[in-house]
Symmetry: C2
Subunit: 322 residues, 2 copies
């Protein structure tokens, strides 16, 4: 069984590098650190790499400060790659593949290209954190409070707070076991989901003031002129979840968020609830995504982008209602 | 064992009334309907009562429309009272106690006055929904998808989305079992937490525009002039969770929400995170609550109420920082 094989490698090897994808998130960071903290408890040498800036909200996790961006020529006996469907997701760190004796690839993306020497891909797992839990359990590792905090963070964030349909009864059982270690999961939850900066809250207010509804309130649109970021002293990713305020309008089938990039270009995010395939709308403008969540870039001012999107939605809504 | 005794009563009796508290919430409604749907499956006669208006967001649960406000003289073999620490929580429906052969009191409030003929109070249970699950399981009932939706709603809402510290590994195990029935828990979650009316979203924007911070950003204040409700065509309970936008500012120790009642009176809600006991501030203005969540009513305009609260907070923040 592959999980046992991975267990043997974790025991037999002494020096590891653990690496994960660019645009790091709660699952990639949490699963890296969960494995890191357990291996460190057993006296192993472990280096951590991510070729990107790390979201600061995960800095409370033990080992966060050990994550480095560049490898300055070190070689490793074992390279463990987490949550990456393919090696391009590693950014510049894909060079690590050439300076490691064995490569373990652990993932939950069904599209994984199986690029490792040992590959474990479980597309039914909510998160890589859930897989790391299973690897540790099956191989007899005790899960410490420190590791439990990391794995809880993984699972929490990749399930959207146990809300997304990737959450299974296995997920809930694992979380039940993790919180039995005595971690302050309420505090972790609040740090990740509730904490907002003053700038972010001001930006939200400005963006909410742009709310418009169309087609009998079935389409809700929010817009963000690029000058707002400066005006509110906010960062671009402060607006990451604003699309939900449009989507969550009870009468809305489609939520639209138009973020102005510059005077000539807008980035458009689309969300739907039940019957509109927003990936088709996005594809029409050379964008992409899924049925219920997609995005595209449109040339023009905010009002031009809005009109183009509304025109495209008008046709689809009429078809969808039939 | 009391849970078995309750099981025998559920099997032996044929006509039931199930009743819960005024100001109904997800747990009271979900646990009532979970038990209702199971008993109906066994051909029992079951009436449901709550002496209050029901929150419409739970109307998707089977049996919701069967909940009546008044009992017009019916008598019952068995009266089951859920989630009520004492009989006063029943409102006018406490009269049901006099027209029932046996009264079962099921609750999770440690303060329960044990007013039933049979009492089962488990203060470690996150919710009464969790207790109903255990009663059904221990007594061999199959939990249908319909019942699972109700009990999931109970547990979800009383744990604040599995966030509050009353959530235990038992809670997670039970939820894992409930979702195994195939319920669309993602949809339930979204209905309860994500769905907002257009009016509510407009009201949020207006209230966010009042955001002010004091004392090195450790106090965040939001205010709501009473005219805003009319201006946004919103209802008073649309603002129920706005206090969190003040509390969630990362630098804030205290979040304050001042809701103007009329030209002469304001209702003030207070939340704190780590070291300020807001129940003391509220008590100073003849209000009440807990260390981290309290409220009071202050005579005067919004700015007068704000100045009074800030004066009181100033002293406490200085002490708290020592």
């Amino acid at each position: 069984m592959i999980l046992n094989k991975i267990g043997h490698i974790l025991k037999d090897y002494d020096d590891f590098a653990i690496v994960s994808h660019v645009s790091p998130d709660g699952d990639s960071i949490g699963s890296m650190l969960g494995l890191f903290n357990t291996l460190k408890d057993f006296g192993k040498s472990v280096d951590l790499f991510v070729d990107d800036i790390l979201p600061e909200k995960y800095s409370f996790l033990t080992g966060y400060d050990n994550i480095k961006r560049y490898n300055t020529g070190s070689k490793y006996s074992c390279l463990i790659i987490l949550d990456c469907g393919d090696v391009l997701r590693l950014g510049e760190l894909k060079s690590l593949l050439n300076c490691s004796d064995i490569v373990i690839n652990i993932d939950h993306h069904i599209s994984n290209t199986l690029f490792g020497d040992v590959n474990y891909v479980d597309s039914n797992a909510s998160s890589v954190g859930e897989i790391i839990y299973q690897i540790l359990k099956i191989n007899g590792y005790n899960i410490s409070k420190t590791t439990a905090m990391c794995l809880y963070t993984s699972i929490l964030t990749d399930t959207g707070g146990f809300k997304y349909s990737n959450t299974t009864s296995m997920t809930f059982n694992i979380v039940g076991d993790l919180i039995n270690t005595g971690i302050n999961f309420s505090d972790i939850y609040s740090r990740i989901y509730d904490s907002k900066t003053l700038s972010q809250t001001k930006l939200l207010e400005k963006v909410l003031s742009t709310l418009e509804v169309y087609f009998n309130d079935t389409v809700a649109v929010l817009t963000m002129p690029y000058k707002l970021l400066e005006e509110c002293n906010a960062k671009e990713n402060d607006a990451d979840e604003f699309i939900n305020y449009a989507r969550n309008i009870d009468t809305a089938e489609v939520g639209v968020f138009i973020k102005q990039i510059n005077d000539f270009k807008c980035r458009v995010s689309l969300r739907s609830k039940n019957y509109v395939d927003v990936s088709k709308i996005a594809a029409y403008f050379n964008g992409g995504g899924h049925i219920r969540a997609a995005g595209c870039t449109i040339e023009g001012s905010i009002s031009e982008a809005k009109n183009k999107i509304l025109d495209a939605l008008k046709d689809v809504l009429e078809v969808g209602h039939k």
